[in-house]
């Protein structure tokens, strides 16, 4: 007897018996038809002439209507039978048709599967269900076993057994344990899809889980697809795959989750500098939970190191949605490394809390960050007093002055290693034309230019006036009035919201009295970031090429215009130095699953993308000539994506070039919501999809041709509704529900 599965029929029924029964039931309308002909009342009637005349004229139509009605009724019953029998054109669309199977069994091994109910963990129950399923597989079936979280794979998914006999799979299954944190389910699905490709035979994916993820459901506005959509998308690349979701969770399970770990708004990670990071915790359980929140850091493949820890009490949700508990940390970014860093927040429940076994702690959250080096500033100044303020407020946190003695011009300066040019000199008489061209080229290529105009802004005129200005403006006379100083406005919304002024939202904002500034005109209104109280522009900014220009119409020098005396000049300088090198967060740190756009160096011919280890190997893609952008479409696996751009330099001698860009993909904060999804909610969301649900009471693989009771009842209801519709249609169209041939 062959162990090979039989060839699937062209049309198969999951429940052929129901089909044949339904076929037999088609006779019922015919019998009803004759029954009603036999069952009649008798009337002795006088007005027979009219009746006979009516009958003569209606007989043909009545016969046709009777026939149509009979056929409709038969068709409705036939459809009902078909619905119950669940036909399919090919075997993969029928989860439980017979024959050998290629099974991908994914076990949810997140921490929440460790929750105890009636003395056993959810994983224990899941293993029992899975073992039973494996023992009932048809002969010849092969099994690949995937743990959705495996500490040996840095918390990612891992195929612990590939293409094995069901018996072997049961042995390995028995030894599986829960991890210490949440799942990366999308990575697990990707792995399941890869494993499914390697299997021969009719595939089926079985997922044993506690459903403790809100993102099983997509966004209500459709922006983000649900997990099952992801699963289907990845596993169905080579044809439809039936998916069985085995729910072993408990509705009343308590849970504490580190839902999010994020960089504070407006901050960037600079190597060696402090960074504000906030962890957000939720408690989905019935009572407040006390424990320790630990922040850890790691670079590259190095092990996690504890940075700081804090005792926290995560409050209970009460009646409504759980309130987030937020804890801020200010760790220092390691000074050395490959330009990347990872932080991890771990919550550990106190060992002595009551009912600890019931507490399923999805306790960790990882934040991957690209770290940029300090901003390298080249000041152009003949008078260093202009920069004293910078030193006074210790802004060197993110700033590195390139040389202790500042040059008076750009002659002979190599700007390749400069991030920002600071024009801080009130005395330079004129900007040489070649310096003006060099400076424009520098900004166009992505550099930053910060200029103080007063007391002599004239030398910069070539930059702001004429063709292709850095920032269109005409620099006029200096307004100087010791008697009537002006203040920098803080009321304007644009000022308040602008990154240059972000610190001024604090109560510490004090504008100094400005007694002199360069009057400018001909600027674009939108270029003005802040004005003086008399309406004249105080700060302007504009993008130019890839870079930015910030112009402050006065100087920080006490001796000139009394701008000193408050924190504002320092804040402006500090913020401007970061703002001028700012890249939008989307270019550095993206949410996993969203595409990332990367700027390519000129002359790039090819990019090589190395995704995180869990997402597979590196891939290479050619780049069209002249392309300046590359879109990294698949960032679904959290972690670092290294993009190496290879090309050749321009000019007469073409030399190979290579530059690396890192993109950090972090999980969507919504994925941190580990409230359990109600199975009913999930079923409704994926109604009609080839997704089969079972709970602890139903077998994963029903014996014989037994179908899902839920689907059968749904098909039955559908059939009944169809019959009722037919009857209603007939009642409406023919004026009655019964017809007898006269």
């Amino acid at each position: 007897m062959s162990l090979l599965p039989p060839a699937p029929p062209l049309l198969a029924f999951a429940n052929p018996a129901l089909f044949w029964t339904g076929l037999g039931l088609v006779a019922v309308p015919v019998l009803i038809h004759f029954f009603f002909r036999r069952r009649h009342r008798v009337i002795r009637w006088a007005a027979m002439d009219f009746l006979l005349a009516a009958l003569r004229k209606q007989k043909r139509r009545m016969e046709i209507e009777n026939l149509v009605l009979l056929l409709l009724r038969c068709a409705a019953i036939l459809l009902l039978a078909l619905g119950l029998a669940r036909p399919g054109c090919s075997a993969p669309s029928i989860p439980f048709a017979g024959g050998a199977r290629a099974v991908v069994l994914v076990m949810d091994t997140s921490a929440s599967m460790g929750a105890v109910h009636t003395g056993r963990t959810a994983l224990d129950r899941g293993k029992e269900r899975a073992a039973q399923f494996l023992s009932e597989l048809p002969a010849g079936s092969k099994v690949t076993l995937v743990a959705s979280r495996d500490e040996a794979a840095a918390g990612g998914p891992r195929a612990v057994l590939e293409n094995a006999e069901p018996g072997d799979a049961r042995v390995v299954l028995a030894g599986m344990r829960t991890g210490y944190g949440p799942n990366d389910l999308r990575a697990a699905f990707t792995l399941a899809a890869v494993q499914r490709k390697g299997l021969r035979g009719r595939p089926i994916v079985v997922f044993v889980t506690d459903l403790q993820r809100r993102d099983w459901l997509g966004d209500t506005d459709g922006r983000k697809e649900g997990l099952f959509d992801t699963l289907r998308e990845r596993t169905e690349a080579d044809g439809p795959v039936p998916v069985v979701l085995v729910d072993v969770g408990q509705d009343e399970t308590a849970n504490v989750v580190v839902a999010n770990l994020s960089v504070d708004a407006g901050q960037q990670a600079f190597a060696g500098k402090l960074l504000g990071i906030t962890a957000t915790l939720f408690n989905y359980g019935p009572s407040a939970t006390q424990g320790t929140l630990t922040l850890q850091v790691a670079q590259g493949e190095a092990p996690w190191e504890k940075v700081m820890a804090e005792e926290v009490v995560v409050p209970a949700p009460g009646l409504g949605q759980p309130e987030p508990l937020q804890r801020s940390f200010t760790p220092r970014i390691p000074a050395r490394g490959d330009g990347t860093v990872r932080f991890r927040a771990v919550f550990t429940a106190r060992a002595d809390i009551a009912d600890r076994d019931r507490l399923a702690v999805d306790s960790e959250r990882v934040l991957a960050l690209r770290v940029r080096p300090p901003v390298r500033i080249l000041p152009v100044a003949t008078y260093s007093g202009s920069l004293d303020i910078v030193r006074d407020v210790e802004l060197t946190e993110v700033i590195e002055f390139l040389q202790p003695i500042f040059p008076a011009d750009l002659q002979g300066r190599d700007l390749d290693n400069v991030d920002v040019i600071l024009w801080a000199d009130p005395e330079i008489a004129a900007l040489p034309p070649e310096d003006a061209l060099k400076l424009k080229a520098f900004v166009k290529a992505g550099g930053g230019f910060l200029a103080y105009l007063a007391r002599r802004g004239d030398p910069l005129r070539p930059l702001f006036e004429g063709d292709d200005p850095l920032l269109p403006a005409r620099i006029g006379e200096v307004r100087r009035d010791e008697e009537h100083p002006v203040l920098i406005e803080r009321e304007d919304d644009r000022t308040q919201a602008h990154p240059l002024f972000k610190e001024t939202r604090q109560p510490l904002f004090f504008s100094p009295e400005v007694t002199g500034y360069a009057q400018v005109s001909g600027y674009e209104d939108r270029a003005v970031v802040a004005r003086y109280t008399n309406g004249d522009p105080a700060v302007l900014e504009k993008s130019y090429g890839r870079g930015r220009v910030v112009v402050i119409t006065t100087t920080p020098a006490e001796m000139f215009f009394r701008l000193n005396g408050s924190l504002l000049p320092a804040i402006l300088f500090f913020n401007a130095s970061q703002y001028l090198v700012w890249e939008s967060p989307a270019r550095r740190n993206v949410t996993a699953g969203e595409p990332a756009d990367v700027r390519l160096p000129p002359g790039t011919r090819e990019v090589e993308v190395t995704p995180p280890a869990a997402a597979g190997g590196a891939s290479r893609e050619p780049v069209a000539d002249g392309a300046t952008e590359f879109r990294l479409a698949d960032t679904s696996t959290p972690g670092f994506y290294r993009i190496v751009a290879r090309g050749v330099t321009g000019g007469t001698t073409a030399l190979p070039t290579e530059s690396a860009i890192d993109i950090a993909a972090n999980p969507d904060p919504a994925e941190g919501d580990l409230r359990r999804v109600a199975a009913m909610e999930l079923k409704q969301a994926y109604q009609g999809a080839p997704l089969h649900f079972t709970d602890e009471k139903e077998p994963i693989l029903p014996r014989g041709s037994q179908g899902s009771a839920v689907e059968a009842s749904r098909a039955f209801l559908g059939g009944v509704v169809a019959i009722l519709l037919v009857e209603l249609l007939c009642a409406w169209r023919f004026g009655t529900r019964r017809r007898s041939l006269a």
Binding site: A46, L55, A742
Partner: protein, 299 residues
């Protein structure tokens, strides 16, 4: 016996009608105008007296002989003999036997109508006669106006039995031979015959200068055909048996009935005859007083 006779003269019927003044159209001027002047003056035989002419008198009645003798104008006045002769022709064919369960049959309804009208006419001191017929004349009671005659007439109604097929023209043809001089002929029938036969009968009566009033009595079920379940219709008057779904046939049936009724109505209109549809569920007083009132207004 008298008490039995009164059962057809339901007070609610007769009270409603007694207050009305029934006036015949054309030749016969009215049921209730027995005391009024009749248009048949010139045909009456008993001379009463002479009266001096006054302007406005019809000069046809001037006695020219007296004028020749006395050179003065006198009008001849006659004694009125009777001003109305009415015949009630009641259809007693088998089809009149039909009635909805719990309701009145058509023949019963016809009896009530006939008795009420006979009583009314007699009260006006006019003469009323009765013919019962199916395809043949079954009995004939000549007109008279006495109270005793009314009792006989009502007795005739009581003992009338249904049976036989309808042949309206044939029956009316036989009756016409008995009707004598011009009269008001009240035909009470379900008219379940072919339309030509019905209209021929009416035309025949009109030809003989009778005023014709056709009262068509149909059962409410015959007018609405309200049946739903599959039904076996066994025809009266030897009609065939039909198994049918009434709901499917209702629209067409009602259309056939309407066509037939319209043809009769138009035919009656063409011969200046009255045509009244009576439904066995319509109260008798309502049906008769409505008709008589509208007839009065036409005058």
């Amino acid at each position: 016996m008298a008490g039995d006779s009164r059962k057809y003269l339901d007070p609610s019927v007769l009270n409603a009608i007694a207050g009305l003044e029934l006036k015949a159209r054309l030749i016969v001027e009215g049921f209730v105008s027995g005391m009024h002047r009749s248009p048949f003056h010139g045909f009456s035989v008993e001379f009463a007296e002479h009266r001096e002419y006054v302007p406005g008198d019809d000069i046809r009645f001037v006695d020219w002989k007296v004028f020749g003798k006395s050179d003065r104008y006198y009008i001849k006045q006659y004694e009125e003999e009777t001003n109305l002769r009415a015949w009630i022709l009641l259809d007693c064919s088998e089809s009149m036997e039909y009635g909805a369960p719990g309701g009145m049959t058509k023949i019963d309804y016809g009896r009530h109508v006939a008795a009420a009208l006979a009583y009314l006419i007699t009260q006006q001191q006019d003469a009323v006669g009765l013919c019962l017929f199916d395809k043949e004349l079954r009995s004939v009671l000549p007109p008279a106006s006495s109270a005793g005659h009314l009792r006989v007439l009502i007795h005739q109604l009581e003992i009338a039995r249904t049976g036989g097929k309808t042949s309206l023209y044939h029956a009316v043809q036989r009756a016409a031979e008995q009707l004598g001089r011009r009269s008001v002929v009240i035909l009470i029938s379900d008219l379940l015959d072919n339309a030509e036969s019905v209209l021929s009968a009416v035309q025949l009566l009109r030809h003989n200068r009778h005023e014709v009033i056709v009262l068509q009595v149909l059962d409410h079920e015959e007018r609405t055909f309200p049946f739903e379940r599959t039904t076996r219709f066994e025809g009266l008057e030897e009609a065939p048996v039909v198994m049918a779904d009434p709901a499917a046939l209702r629209t067409q049936y009602l259309k056939e009935l309407e066509d037939f009724t319209r043809a009769i109505r138009h035919g009656c209109l063409g011969t200046a005859s009255d045509f009244v549809e009576l439904d066995t569920v319509t109260p008798l007083d309502v049906a008769l007083s409505g008709y008589l009132a509208s007839r009065g207004r036409r005058r």
